[in-house]
């Protein structure tokens, strides 16, 4: 039991460290570089971001996954967060939502594809 408790403590500690490191600077969104799957998942399918608008809380992760046979990118229109590299089929890209605001993005390969992230406090 003692070992188990220690593990929980270590896990809690690690979580604390990681949430600290993930807190984004005001006014920007941060690329976490991980594939941490939260409920804020945006599927790229049939050359569209689905859902096209996602509302999240500041500090939450947002993950895109490409379900097309075509490469797509995720690029902030106002360059407010780091752009993804070209995502091949089933590849993911994750950012952590920064300061509250509305962030529009598009696919730089197929610029007709646009989407919006609304970040709330």
């Amino acid at each position: 039991m003692k070992t188990f408790n220690s593990k929980i403590k270590i896990a809690a500690l690690l979580c604390g460290i990681s949430s600290l490191s993930l807190s984004a600077l005001p006014g920007e969104m941060k690329d976490t570089g991980s594939s941490g799957a939260g409920q804020n998942r945006i599927e790229i399918k049939d050359f569209a971001f689905n859902p096209p608008t996602v509302t999240v809380k500041s500090g939450e992760k947002v993950t895109w996954i490409n379900r097309d046979e075509e490469p797509h990118t995720v690029v902030s229109v106002e360059k407010q967060f780091k752009k993804s590299s070209a995502l091949d089929t089933d590849q993911e890209f994750t950012i952590t939502a920064g300061a509250p605001g509305t962030y529009t993005y598009y696919c730089s390969v197929h610029p007709k594809m646009t989407g919006t992230i609304v970040v709330e406090k």
Binding site: E69, S85, A86, T104, Y106, V109
Partner: protein, 320 residues
């Protein structure tokens, strides 16, 4: 099989059946012949079948497009092989074309190894003179740096890689419309390139035949799928005074043609996989047909453009 056009609602010389026949054409190339300043196209399958040399003309060249080396999904698990078949057809021509143009999407993901494979396979082609323009798949992560290092060695590329050259009195213009694309927009040439274009054609006589090539169509094919170029009108404005302008594009993996005054717009087949006709699928992604059907369809259908005709003539040339 008959070759006539049964339904031509758009008066564009192509019906749905003819259109689907065009789809059978992946893996082939189009031979363009400049004769008296007007371009005429024939498929390689047709030329190979005829077994006769191409009639003596001022100039002949060949367009290949959308090789997508590295693509390995259901629509074609071996795009390198179909690219090879296209080159075999070129090598089998009784009279080789003077040069090739590749209208972009050499690779699927702009990877160095994909470019390597393309270059290696291209060596088997007996036509060594090849002119390129990039597709969006060739400039995915580096703004086209790798593409330019590899494919602009024999030309004086300006800006993001546009250039022009002359062959037998024909002025060729290679444009780049796949970079710095704006959110919500289409393909784009940009001010710098347009200013260069205006200057480039300034000194040319209006009787100079012009051939423009670029990846994304320079006419609005289907904006809902991004099949067009936002500032192409301005480019075409600079070319208005010329008696013969031919615009050759790729990107949409199917043959479409439009004639507007002295300008003929034409899109080429891919050597990799077909894409759906505008608006006929949820998206313009790769269209899957059975693999054995894709292979057997190679060279089955040809498309001709002849002087005086405003539309495409789609002709069966089943080699099996």
């Amino acid at each position: 099989m008959s070759d006539y056009i049964s339904h031509d609602h758009e008066h564009d010389g192509i019906d749905r059946r003819g259109f689907l026949k065009c789809m059978a054409w992946a893996g082939t190339g189009v031979l363009w012949t400049v004769s008296g300043g007007v371009l005429v196209s024939k498929t390689l399958a047709q030329i190979a079948k005829a077994g006769k040399p191409v009639p003596a003309t001022d100039l002949s060249f060949l367009q290949i497009s959308d090789s997508h080396i590295g693509f390995n999904k259901a629509a074609n698990k071996d795009v390198t092989e179909t690219f090879k078949i296209a080159l075999d057809r070129i090598n089998a021509m009784p009279t080789p074309p003077s040069f090739l143009i590749h209208t972009g999407d050499i690779t699927q993901l702009s990877k160095p190894e994909e470019f390597d494979t393309f270059d290696q396979v291209l060596k088997s082609c007996r036509v060594k003179d090849v002119f390129f323009v990039p597709g969006e798949h060739d400039v995915l992560n580096d703004g086209g740096k790798l593409y330019r290092e590899r494919y602009l060695k024999s030309v004086e590329g300006k800006g993001s890689g546009w250039y022009s050259f002359n062959k037998n009195g024909v002025h060729f213009i290679a444009l780049v419309n796949v970079l710095d694309l704006q959110a919500g927009g289409l393909g784009q040439l940009g001010d710098e390139q347009l200013e260069w274009l205006e200057d480039d054609v300034k000194g040319l006589g209006s009787d100079t035949p012009i051939v423009v090539f670029a990846h994304i169509p320079l006419w609005t094919v289907y904006p809902q799928w991004g099949w067009g170029t936002s500032d192409s009108e301005r480019a075409l404005g600079y070319l208005k005074r010329f008696g013969s302008v031919t615009v050759l594009n790729g990107h949409i993996h199917q043959v479409l043609q439009k004639v507007e005054g002295n300008v003929t717009f034409h899109t080429a087949m891919s050597t990799a996989f077909p894409q759906p006709a505008p608006g006929t699928a949820p998206s313009p992604g790769p269209m899957t047909v059975p693999a054995e059907k894709l292979r057997s369809m190679l060279g089955l259908t040809s498309v001709q453009y002849k002087q005086g005709n405003t539309g495409l003539a789609v002709v069966d040339s089943n080699l099996s």
